[in-house]
Structures are given as structure tokens and as C-alpha cells.
């Protein structure tokens, strides 16, 4: 009789998640289950969980945070709320398994020791004294030390979990507990079952943690399932316990949505090419120590940026802006070249101002400043506004060709792939080792045509493939 009631109650608590697992038992006790279900709503006993003694003679505390709300299911030892008293923050945990039916206080209310904190509806099979369990366990003591003895081992597990294990003929001593104090959770039982049937479950992040100093004295055995013979039918599907997570799109992401939606209204066209950076690589190696002496790390970007500015002098339409109604084109005088940066929040594009009057070294210094501010999350509004042209060095992460999206109100953008060492033929027909980088340009086809983009790209490419030629045109 007791056994049947227990099975029904386990169905009640767990059926919403693990229906498949209990198909067998559900079929067996369907008659009782039906009876049970109709009266389930009112048969749970409401217990008033009182705020226990905090110590030091404290009689009242302030409720600071609720971890649960009315209607939530809780297990024994789950955190219910955080209260504060005189510089001490106390985590109140549940003594029962059940469903929260009433919170007696709101945030910032004063709660009294010995008075009810929450009402929990617990399983009726537990009997009149809610602290006692019908199964072979000792009644819960006031200090809430509930080490359930099972076959000589002390294993922490809530009554619901123990029932689940029993239904599936699992020895708790063979299950690795991943909860607090090595407590065995429902997920641990499921993982164990999955290993038996070979079902694939999402990886549990805490599964491997076994702290050397533990409260219990159990040695949790890793489930060595090879020798074990559990009568588990292979076809039984295990419930997948992963859940979709929905979050609102807020803040920066919202702004990105707006910007990118506007960007894609621009008719883009793409133009790609490969650049032989062999000579530039060598030049940079020579200049790196000089720059370091001056306290700056020299990367390839300052060269790319300066070459782009020299190119924009010849093709100023790429540094322009089209107004909303496509009535006027504004040719911007300053070359404020944006550099796409990847940060924790996502994509930000600070720009180097007036590149047309900066030397390669000046650009390196400014880039360094922007990069350190960017990683510290301290870029100012002026650093992030006023850009007229953008370069995105996606190659630092990887990739060759890309299809960059123009950032309004600009009209062009270039994405730089990674530098690869590839074999190429020289003028004499010999194979040599070349440092090759791919560039992918996108431009606004409303005011820029393919020929202009190609010519700009060729000019930029020639400056980089033969860095000495930049000297001729430097202002």
C-alpha cells in the first residue's frame, strides 16, 4: 500500500519532466493514478516553513532576495531566500520537497525568527508530521542533517531522487553526485541511466568535480557499467533535460539590429583580390625594433590604414556619404578610418582621425591607445563617432575572403583575411614562397561603380606590395 502511494507521488513530482521513464509504472498503476490525479490538487498538505534561529540572539532579519516564487517546485536543501541581519547575510534553504504556495514577506520586509517564512505544499504520503518520511529513513533533525543510510553508505539525496533510483533499480552508491555536498541529483540518475542505454545527453558541466575534502565519507564510485547488469530495455528513450533559453534583445544588441537593418538597405557589391605582402613583412620586421624603442608595438594595420588613405586621395568618392534621400553626396575632407574591434560586448568600430595627415608611426600610436581603451571598456563617444571608411582585420581570428557589411553613413568597407604562406610564380616562372593576404571590399553601388573600386584596390595593393612606392606619395 505504502509502495503504491509512493510511486504515485513520484509520478506527481516528476511526471512533467520524465514521463517516458515512468511509462511502465504508470501503466501498472493507472487506476490508482487516475484517482490520485483528481485529488492531487487538494491532497498536498500545506506546511508553514518557519524562519529558524539565526544565532547570537537575533530575532528579526530583513528579507533581501527571493530565489523562488509562488508556484515553483523546490527540493530539500534548495535555496529559498537571502536575509540580512546586522552585517550577516544568511541563505535560508528548504527543509522540504514541495511546491511554494505563499511567500509571507516582500523584499525589504522585516521577517521574524520563529514565524512562517513560506508555505510549502508537500506530498500527502509523508503523513501528518511533514518532517518524517515513510521510507526507511530517520526523521529529519532540527539541524537538517539528513544523511540517509542506504546499505551502510551515507549518501545525500532527496526522497524524490531516491524513489527515482529505486524505480530504476539503481544503487545510489554507484552514482556520482554532482550537487552540493556531493548530493545526488535527478540529473545524476539520468546521466547514469543514459550511460547504461547509450543515449546521448548534453554534457553536465559539474560532472567531473570530486573535491578531496568532503562533508560525507562516501567514496562515490564512477559508474562502471560494464560488469553491471541492470534490466533496462534498450529502446527506452531518456528525456532530454536541456531547455531553450530566451532572452530579450537589449541595449547594444538593439542598436546593432537597427544599424545592420539600415546597412542592408544599401545595395552592396563586392570586389576581392589577393595581395603579396612578402616585401611588407620584411619591412615590418626591420621597423619593429625601432617602434619598440619608441614604446609602440608595430602591427600591419598602420600600413594598411595609411595605404588606404593614400588611395582615398585619388578616389575620394569612397570616403563620401550619401544623404537619406539620395539627393546629395558629401565628400568628406577627413579620412577617419575605422578599425573594427572585437570586444566582450561584440563589434565596436573606433576610428583613427585625420589619417591623411598622420604618419605610419602616428597611426600605430593611436591604434595602440584605442586598443587598450577598447579592451578596458573605456572608449569615449568621440572615438566611436565620425568614421568615414572602415577596415576590418578579420584575419587575426581567421578566414580568407569575407563579405563585409558597410557601416552607414559610410559607403565602403574592406575585410582583410589572414596572411598565409603560399607558393606563387615569379616573373621568371620560378616558384617562390609568398606571404599572401586576401582582401574583400564592399561598396555602395548607388554611387560607386565596380571600376572605381577595382582601381582603388589596385592602387592600395601596389602600395603594399611595393612599400617603397608609398614614399613617393606620402604627404
Amino acid at each position: 500500500c505504502i509502495h503504491r502511494v509512493r510511486s504515485c507521488s513520484s509520478i506527481r513530482f516528476i511526471k512533467s519532466k520524465y514521463v517516458c521513464v515512468f511509462d511502465k509504472s504508470a501503466l501498472k498503476f493507472s487506476h490508482q493514478q487516475r484517482l490520485f490525479r483528481t485529488s492531487a490538487v487538494s491532497c498536498g498538505q500545506i506546511v508553514q516553513f518557519k524562519l529558524s534561529d539565526i544565532g547570537e540572539g537575533i530575532t528579526e532579519v530583513t528579507v533581501k532576495e527571493w530565489y523562488i516564487k509562488e508556484g515553483d517546485s523546490v527540493s530539500q536543501f534548495d535555496s529559498i531566500c537571502e536575509v540580512q541581519s546586522d552585517k550577516a547575510s544568511v541563505t535560508i534553504t528548504s527543509r522540504y520537497d514541495g511546491v511554494i504556495r505563499k511567500l509571507h514577506y516582500s523584499i525589504d520586509d522585516i521577517a521574524f525568527v520563529g514565524k512562517p517564512l513560506v508555505d510549502i505544499e508537500i506530498d500527502a504520503s509523508k503523513g501528518v508530521a511533514p518532517a518524517e518520511d515513510v521510507v526507511e529513513t530517520p526523521p529529519m533533525s532540527h539541524e537538517e542533517h539528513t544523511h540517509q543510510e542506504i546499505k551502510g553508505h551515507k549518501t545525500l539525496a532527496t526522497p524524490a531522487v531516491r524513489r527515482l533510483a529505486m524505480e530504476n533499480n539503481i544503487k545510489l552508491s554507484e552514482v556520482v553526485g554532482t550537487g552540493k555536498d556531493n548530493r545526488i541529483l535527478k540529473e545524476d540518475i539520468l546521466n547514469y541511466l543514459a550511460k547504461q542505454t547509450g543515449a546521448i545527453l548534453p554534457p553536465s558541466p559539474k560532472a567531473e568535480i570530486v573535491p578531496p575534502l568532503r562533508k560525507t565519507e562516501t567514496v562515490p564510485a564512477a559508474p562502471k557499467d560494464k560488469a553491471r547488469k541492470i534490466p533496462v530495455p534498450v529502446s527506452r528513450p531518456i528525456a532530454f533535460s536541456g531547455k531553450d533559453k530566451t532572452e530579450p534583445v537589449t541595449g547594444f544588441q538593439k542598436a546593432m539590429v537597427k544599424t545592420m537593418s539600415a546597412a542592408l538597405k544599401i545595395p552592396h557589391f563586392g570586389y576581392c583580390d589577393e595581395i603579396d605582402l612578402t616585401q611588407l613583412v620584411q619591412l615590418r620586421e626591420e621597423l619593429k625594433p625601432l617602434a619598440e624603442l619608441r614604446g609602440v608595438k608595430l602591427s600591419f594595420m598602420p600600413f594598411f590604414i595609411k595605404a588606404a588613405s593614400l588611395g582615398l586621395l585619388q578616389y575620394p568618392i569612397l570616403n563620401a556619404s550619401l544623404d537619406e534621400n539620395c539627393q546629395n553626396v558629401t565628400y568628406k575632407a577627413s579620412h577617419n578610418i575605422g578599425v573594427a574591434m572585437d570586444t566582450e560586448q561584440g563589434l565596436i568600430v573606433p576610428n583613427v582621425k585625420n589619417v591623411q595627415v598622420c604618419s605610419v608611426f602616428d597611426i600605430a600610436v593611436e591604434l595602440s591607445r584605442l586598443q587598450s581603451l577598447g579592451s578596458a571598456g573605456q572608449l569615449g563617444t568621440s572615438d566611436l563617432t565620425g568614421g568615414t571608411f572602415t577596415l576590418s582585420n578579420i584575419g587575426t581570428i581567421g578566414g580568407t575572403y569575407a563579405k563585409p557589411v558597410i557601416l552607414p553613413p559610410e559607403v565602403a568597407i574592406g575585410a582583410l583575411g589572414k596572411i598565409q604562406v603560399l607558393p606563387r610564380f615569379n616573373g621568371k616562372g620560378e616558384v617562390f614562397k609568398a606571404q599572401i593576404m586576401n582582401v574583400s571590399w564592399s561598396a555602395d553601388h548607388r554611387i560607386i561603380d565596380g571600376a572605381t573600386m577595382a582601381r582603388f584596390s589596385n592602387l592600395w595593393k601596389s602600395y603594399l606590395e611595393n612599400p617603397a612606392s608609398m614614399l613617393l606619395d606620402l604627404k
Binding site: 536543501f77 546586522d86 552585517k87 547575510s89 570530486v210 575534502l213 578596458a376
Partner: protein
């Protein structure tokens, strides 16, 4: 069971300064450990780890630690109310939220931290503080130090040299306190002064107090001497060896799961997101061209995010569409200068390209950011 205790011995023999025989067999009443790290997040994570994983029935633990410059706020406090966040960012001083209650403190290497771990039943703050006072008096008998009923330690009857906080869990508890040896009082007072006006909140407020360093009273004192004296007194009272075990909070094999705890303490969601709901009602004085505009701002911030935002601008100062776009974007976003800067500059890309408009927008946004 035998295998387990052997494993524990091996673990401990690796980290003890002098190798010891089986740890459990000596049945000691206490353990004194000291952190090699000065990282506030790592050290707070060690507290969490001991609280969650160590069995304190057999032995109590004293944890000694010091941090490089950091401001530590209590579990239920509001960082905007408690400290000058702008100054912290400028000076690269870390901000941490601990799990215990109480008020805000400034840590640097001249301030030592002591954590007393016991079972919940044996939680007794007064005893711990009396131990500290006893240790101080044993070291320098002429020191006028005593414990108040607010659990502070006062020097010369007026200067606070120690503040206290505590955390109680289901079965274990800890009480930690600071001790001012030689902290930078100038930085301390400047970072703990909040410049943010118009804040209304139910967060635990700190009680400001005059502080003094023990070093000022007696220049021969150092942090090391104080740590040692306290360890000695603890050892005496718990009848154990005066032996400090050194631990490395980055050691995942010694403290499994510690790096996750450390990471969690550094997340924005914990440090700022756990701020109790608060509201701001203030006035921005924006200098624009030849006049000064008074702009009333009202915001509600919950979980560190802007829930409601109202900016009272002169009529048509910004086009209505743009204003509502700004408010819509701010709603739900983090109350954070970095997030707001990137948000408003990104939005500017889809505004009409008008210099006048851009300068007004930048002015307003820059002023809004000063509130954060």
C-alpha cells in the same frame, strides 16, 4: 574510507611547508591557511569554496588574505551609492561584491583580511574579535584597542581599525573582518565617496567612520607581524600547532571548481546586476552654445539594467523620433557607461547626418553617461 584519508594526507603533504603525517590522525581542532594571491576575486572564491566544500565539524579554519587595491561592497549594497566608480575605473581599482552582508571597504596590501570558518552552530563573532584584540595586545601591550557592540574594533576609543561581515549557510558559517595596518588613507577616502546624486534605494548603506592605521600608532608594526600574531593566538586557543598552510587560489586540483567560482565573482551580473532596485532623480546642467540647459532625468534601475527612463528635454531640442529611439534603446540596457557609449554611438549611424544634431546628441549622451 582508508583510501580517502590517505588521499587527503597526500594532498596536504604537498602543500604544507614541512611534511606532516596523516592529517586526520592528529585530530586537530583548527587549520590556519594563507593565500599567496593578492587578487580579490580569487580570495573571495576561496572563501566560497571553503564554505561550500569543507567539513568544519572536525576542525575550524582561519583564512588569512590581502588584496591589491580593490573596493569590496556587501552582498546587498549599491556600488553607485557607495563609491566613486569613475575614479575606480580611472585608477584601475577593482570592484568586487562579496557574499556576506555589511558595508563597503577599501582593500590594499596595507589592510589584512581574516576569515573565521565554523559550523553554523559555532558561529560566534564576538569571540573571534576578542581573539584579534588579544593578539594585538600580546604583540603591543600599550595599544588601546577594544571591540564595540557593532562588531567594530576601535583604536584609542575613536578610530575604526576593523570592520566585520558574516555569511551563514545551511550547515556552515564564516565571519570575516579587516584590520588596517598601513593602508593608503588618501585613496581610501576618495574612492569611498560617491559623487552620484539623486539616488534612492533600499540597499544596505555603509556607516562612514574615521579610520586610522595601526602603523600610525606604532611604526614598527607590519602586516606580516599582525598576521603572525593573530595566527599564533588562534593556534593557542584551538590547541594546534602555530603553523600556517599556504594555498594557491588558482590551483584547480587542490580546490576543484575554484576557477568557476572566481569567474562568477567577476561577472557583471554578480557585481552590478545584484544591486537592489534603485531610482535616480537628478538634473543635468548641460552647457550648450551660450546657455545652460537644465535637463531633469528620472530612471529606475533593476538588476543593474535601466527599467524606466525619462529625460525632460526642451521641446524639439531633439527630433521626437530620435528622442524616443534613445529612450527605447536605453530601456533594458545595462546601467553602464561602456554599454551606453557603444549603444548611442551605434545609433548615431542611422540618424540624419546633421552636424548640429550630432553635437546635441553627443552632448546629451555624454552627460547621461556621467550618471553611471
Amino acid at each position: 574510507m582508508v583510501l580517502q584519508s590517505l588521499k587527503n594526507c597526500l594532498w596536504l603533504s604537498c602543500i604544507l611547508r614541512t611534511p606532516k603525517a596523516c592529517f586526520w590522525s592528529t585530530a586537530t581542532g583548527g587549520l590556519i591557511i594563507q593565500s599567496v594571491s593578492n587578487d580579490v576575486y580569487q580570495n573571495l572564491a576561496v572563501e566560497d569554496w571553503i564554505h561550500d566544500h569543507m567539513d568544519l565539524e572536525k576542525q575550524q579554519v582561519l583564512f588569512l588574505w590581502r588584496n591589491s587595491p580593490a573596493v569590496v561592497i556587501g552582498r546587498h549594497q549599491n556600488p553607485w551609492q557607495e563609491c566613486n566608480l569613475r575614479l575606480l575605473r580611472q585608477k584601475n581599482i577593482k570592484l568586487a561584491r562579496r557574499r556576506s552582508g555589511g558595508g563597503t571597504v577599501y582593500h590594499d596590501l596595507g589592510n589584512i583580511n581574516l576569515t573565521f570558518f565554523t559550523t553554523r552552530k559555532k558561529y560566534e563573532r564576538m569571540e573571534n574579535l576578542k581573539l584579534v584584540v588579544k593578539a594585538l595586545k600580546a604583540l603591543r601591550p600599550q595599544l588601546d584597542v577594544h571591540v564595540t557592540d557593532r562588531y567594530d574594533i576601535l583604536l584609542d576609543g575613536q578610530y575604526k581599525i576593523s570592520g566585520t561581515a558574516a555569511k551563514l549557510g545551511r550547515t556552515s558559517a564564516y565571519h570575516h573582518c579587516t584590520l588596517l595596518c598601513n593602508a593608503d588613507k588618501f585613496v581610501l577616502s576618495s574612492v569611498l565617496k560617491s559623487p552620484y546624486k539623486g539616488l534612492k534605494s533600499n540597499a544596505t548603506p555603509s556607516v562612514p567612520a574615521s579610520v586610522k592605521n595601526l602603523f600610525e600608532e606604532d611604526p614598527s608594526l607590519t602586516s606580516e607581524m599582525l598576521l603572525d600574531a593573530i595566527a599564533k593566538e588562534y593556534a593557542t586557543q584551538h590547541q594546534i600547532d602555530h603553523h600556517i598552510t599556504v594555498i594557491n587560489p588558482a590551483d584547480e586540483t587542490l580546490l576543484p571548481g575554484i576557477s568557476n567560482k572566481t569567474k562568477e565573482l567577476q561577472t557583471w551580473e554578480w557585481v552590478y546586476g545584484k544591486t537592489p532596485k534603485f531610482s535616480i532623480s537628478t538634473c543635468l546642467n548641460m552647457a550648450y552654445k551660450d546657455s545652460v540647459l537644465d535637463v531633469k532625468v528620472n530612471m529606475d534601475v533593476k538588476h543593474g539594467r535601466i527599467e524606466v527612463c525619462n529625460i525632460d528635454l526642451p521641446e524639439q531640442w531633439l527630433p521626437q523620433g530620435l528622442y524616443s529611439e534613445l529612450v527605447k534603446s536605453l530601456t533594458g540596457s545595462k546601467f553602464c557607461p561602456n554599454e551606453t557609449t557603444t549603444l548611442v554611438t551605434t545609433l548615431l549611424r542611422v540618424c540624419p547626418q546633421d552636424d548640429e544634431l550630432h553635437s546635441r546628441w553627443s552632448l546629451l549622451c555624454e552627460n547621461m553617461i556621467t550618471l553611471m
